[in-house]
Amino acid sequence: MQIEVTVNGERRSADVAPRMLLVHWLREELGLTGTHIGCETSICGACTVHLDGRAIKSCTLFAVQCDGHELTTVEGLANGNQLHPVQTGFWEEHGLQCGYCTPGMIMSAAALLAEHPDPSDQEIRQALEGNLCRCTGYQQIVSAVRHAAGLTSGSR
């Protein structure tokens, strides 16, 4: 099927098989391998991307469902060399170890902060409940998101 999708600000036309999962299309057709596959069942969140600004899990969405929509992946989050505040927060607060859950975590956290610029720790934990991390125990991830919230409010 023919689709037209804006990915990281760039208009992409493609002929994709109807059953092609979005995550496979991003990774294997577009080479955007920052979006990871962790469970294939929408539980772990490693594949989280933004669809029209909302965080969604790309392992259980068909690429064709994105026809006419806008996608942002972790590769499109930074503004050139200027990291997104959530990326900065993860770096500053050691919010990652093996890095595999990180792109999805960052996309979910960025979506949270877009809606709630100053969340409580509990709100951060709740917002990240759909993203699993096996390395950090989440605490430094919470610190990372808090750090990012501080950066965002500081720039306003």
Binding site: E40, L96, Q97, G99, D121, R134, C135
Partner: protein, 788 residues
């Protein structure tokens, strides 16, 4: 020479992160080679049975399918799957790369499909017609030891993988202690089987180059050098023709320590087809066929004096090996034997260990690997003894701790502890927790009928395994680690480490060591790892050994380089090395100045340049500035900790809330506190996961009911409060860094600490100690039965 610490001990943020936070890390499944084919496995749908037929006709008819392989294709071509821990040669069984006639566990690979893309490969795998005549299976390890039970291997007399009886002297000492004791305590203690669940599943890309006669294999592994050796052996290749690369590795936790059948098989297929092939495990395959952890059942008896002194321990440990002995799986429970006495003066200890085959996936290392099981058991003994004697559990521990001046201390478990200050760590934790205040508040809550519990765990573990005299010849490596330091002509530094990381942060911590050694900036150091063609032969990252063994090897290599740099500098400054001073950046001649008052000095970078330019040759030296070192530990290190937590269980619903968690850990000297905290926090939550929600469940027919992350509960962010960290520092004399290891410590203490709190919370109900995992449902049932 004076070392001026600049970055050691500093909270330096990670150099790995810029690529990872932008999605630019390269994991195995991210690789795309020209002409690469994708693989999918056909796996057994039964836990036990006889293969009647495997017919790949339909699969091969599908367009884009290149090949389907079964065991018949492998016959005579490959050896068994790698296994370095053959505990009892008479009970050793071969695990074939693909099933040979019989299937013995759910998901055992039957056939491999190779196709042009992964969708096709998976479609074609469904087209392979498999007929299996199901046979009787045994899943429960105790049932497996019964006389008339189904046998996993007909060639063996029973389901025992190894039976290790206690030493006769130990048994005699234990019997004497039991005879003299004031009382005894019996417990059955279960450590349920869990799944490691790294967020990145396993993945392999194999690429045979026919021209070069060379195989390159990218594997998500903790041990690239061991994988290289084992793949070469399995395929009958020279190791010169095998290169293994561990690119970015998305977590391991022990389950990427085994060298797997799939890794050998993909290598064979690539060589056969002369094309690159990839296999990326699905999560269901990961939960079903990546090694599990824990799975131990202890029957333990403790002998004690009325004053609470623990005299002796005896009993039996039944450990689940699974359907075959994985790479190191059979050896893991021996660490439980070794660490059983924990941080206490237990006079005598005698256990029988029975490793049992069942029709389930194999077990192997999982964060802590045998030590969490020991810590769980001895700490539960302490808690139950305290309850029985009416002594506060803190006080009981104080009465039994090994005293700080007793080290090195030989335990009844057979270990020699290096150093320990157990009471100091406990005191710090109690203070932070306000233990007496918390007990008073608990009494108040209990008087209102609330179920509040306070948990405690004081524990030690074994890290940095050595010496290599204990190494297993089948593993083809000792317990040392390698490091190479190569100073470039500019003075920038390339480090190569055999301790290939999977999230630990070696690229940062090891650069800190080099930065301080030579006075170069951290960003002028590059840490290379995980490529067997580039990195000197090494061992890998597991058992909390990265810094302790790998870091020490690096330290030694840095010292060698520094000594050579000093010799060069001395010659150029017209002095002798013993008169040189190194201030962390420059060599200068002690007490000597030029006529204009300036010191005679050379920076490290100037020395590096001179070492390569060599226009002024240095007698007795070669040009260049580099060194390789290997650290062979002469003994093991024993980090320790004291954890406290408070929980409340809702009487109506069984809902458990962790209200506080305080962890005081001691891993000796720390290179980067930020990374050490990350290891501790992650480790603690991983142990809490086992206590709270994780369990691999097979039904009686060997079907796995926890085969997706919808069924296997990995802990989530909402389940935990902010964990409070504090530390003490008791360095080890066994390595020049004074580091003890930190990767597994949190996990070893936390599962028991939480369960200690749960048992304490339920104590007023008089119920038997509830087992892990304490899901809401399990607690609700306990509360209903207790009539709460």
């Amino acid at each position: 020479m004076v070392l001026r610490p600049v970055s050691i001990g500093a909270r330096i943020k990670r150099r790995e992160d810029p690529r990872l936070i932008r999605g630019l890390g390269l994991y195995t499944d991210d690789l795309r080679l020209h002409g690469m084919l994708e693989c999918a496995f056909v796996r057994s749908e039964y836990a036990a049975g006889r293969i009647v037929k495997i017919d790949s006709t339909r699969a091969l008819q599908r367009r884009g399918v290149v090949a389907v392989y079964t065991y018949d294709d492998l016959r005579g071509e490959v050896a068994r799957a790698p296994c370095a821990a053959r505990m009892d040669e008479t009970r050793d069984v071969e695990h074939p790369l693909l099933a040979d006639g019989a299937v013995r566990y759910l998901g055992q690979p039957l056939a491999l499909v190779v196709a042009q893309d992964r969708y096709l490969a998976r479609d074609a795998a469904l087209d392979v017609d498999v007929e299996i005549e199901p046979g009787p299976c045994v899943v429960d390890p105790l049932a497996a030891l019964e006389p008339d039970t189904p046998r996993v291997y007909r060639s063996l007399p029973d389901n025992v993988n190894v039976r290790i009886p206690p030493e006769p002297e130990a048994l005699a000492a234990v019997e004497k202690a039991f005879a003299e004791a004031d009382g005894t305590l019996s417990l059955r203690i279960v450590n349920q089987r869990v799944a490691p669940v790294p967020l990145e599943c396993r993945a392999v890309v194999a690429d045979w180059q026919e021209g070069a006669q060379k195989l390159t294999v990218w594997i998500s592994t903790q041990v690239p050098h061991q994988a290289k050796q084992q793949i070469a052996i399995c395929l009958g290749l020279s190791e010169l023709g095998v290169r293994v690369i561990a690119p970015e590795v998305g977590g391991g936790f022990g389950c990427k320590l085994p060298v797997y059948a799939e890794e050998c098989l993909l290598s064979w297929v690539s060589r056969r087809l002369r094309l690159p092939v990839k296999w990326a495990e699905t999560r269901t395959e990961n939960l079903m066929n990546t090694t599990h952890g824990r799975g131990q059942l202890h029957d333990v008896e403790a002998a004690y004096r009325r004053n609470g002194e623990l005299l002796a321990l005896r009993g039996r440990i039944v450990a689940e090996v699974g359907a075959y002995a994985s790479y190191l799986g059979g050896a893991i429970p021996t660490f439980t034997l070794l660490m059983y006495p924990g941080c206490y003066r237990v006079g005598a200890c005698a256990f029988e260990l029975v490793n049992v085959y069942t029709n389930t996936m194999a077990t192997d290392a999982y964060r802590g690997a045998g030590r969490p099981e020991a810590a769980y058991a001895i700490e539960m003994v302490m808690d139950e003894l305290a309850r029985k004697l009416g002594i506060d559990p803190v006080e009981l521990r104080r009465r039994n701790f090994i005293a700080p001046d007793a080290f090195p201390y030989q335990t009844a478990g057979g270990a020699t502890y290096d150093t320990g200050e157990y009471e100091a760590a406990l005191d710090k934790a109690l203070d932070r927790f306000d233990y007496s205040g918390a007990r008073a508040a608990q009494a108040e809550a209990r008087s209102q009928g609330r179920l509040v519990g306070i948990g405690i765990a004081t524990f030690t573990e074994i890290c940095g395994l050595g010496p290599s005299s204990n190494a297993n010849p089948l593993q083809r490596t000792g317990t040392w680690e390698s490091a190479q330091v190569r100073v470039e002509p500019t003075g920038n530094v390339t480090i190569m480490t055999g301790a290939s990381p999977h999230g630990q942060g070696q690229e940062t911590a090891f650069a800190q060591l080099a930065s301080d050694a030579f006075g170069v900036g951290i960003d002028d150091v590059r840490v290379v790892h995980g490529d067997t063609d580039v990195v000197p032969h090494g061992v890998g990252t597991f058992g909390s050994r990265g810094l302790v063994v790998g870091g020490t090897a690096l330290h030694m290599a840095l010292e060698k380089v520094k000594a050579k740099a000093a010799a060069i500098a001395a010659h150029l400054l017209d002095t002798t090395p013993d008169r040189l001073r190194f201030d962390g950046e420059s060599f200068s001649v002690a007490g000597a100045a030029t006529d204009d008052g300036a010191e005679r000095r050379m920076t490290f970078r100037e020395v590096a340049s001179a070492a390569h330019l060599w226009n002024v040759p240095v007698p007795g030296q070669e040009p260049g500035l580099e060194a390789v070192a290997r650290f062979e530990p002469e003994g093991t290190t024993f980090p320790f900790g004291a954890h406290l937590c408070q929980v409340e269980i809702d009487r109506e619903t069984g809902q458990l809330e962790i209200q506080r968690y305080v962890a005081v850990d001691d891993c000796g000297n720390i290179v980067n506190p930020l990374l050490a905290e990350g290891q501790r926090l992650g480790g603690i939550v991983q142990g809490l996961g086992q206590a709270l929600c994780e369990q691999v469940v097979y039904d009686e027919t060997g079907q796995l009911t926890t085969a997706t992350l919808m069924d296997y509960a990995v802990p989530k962010a909402t389940m935990f409060p902010e964990i409070e960290l504090d530390s003490t520092c008791t360095p080890t004399p066994l390595n020049p860094l004074g580091a003890k290891g930190i990767g597994e410590l949190g996990t070893i203490g936390s599962a028991r600490c939480l369960m200690s709190a749960v048992h304490d919370a339920l104590a007023p109900l008089g119920v038997a100690p509830v087992e892990m995992p304490v899901t809401t449902e399990r607690l609700w049932r306990v509360l209903r039965e207790a009539g709460a």
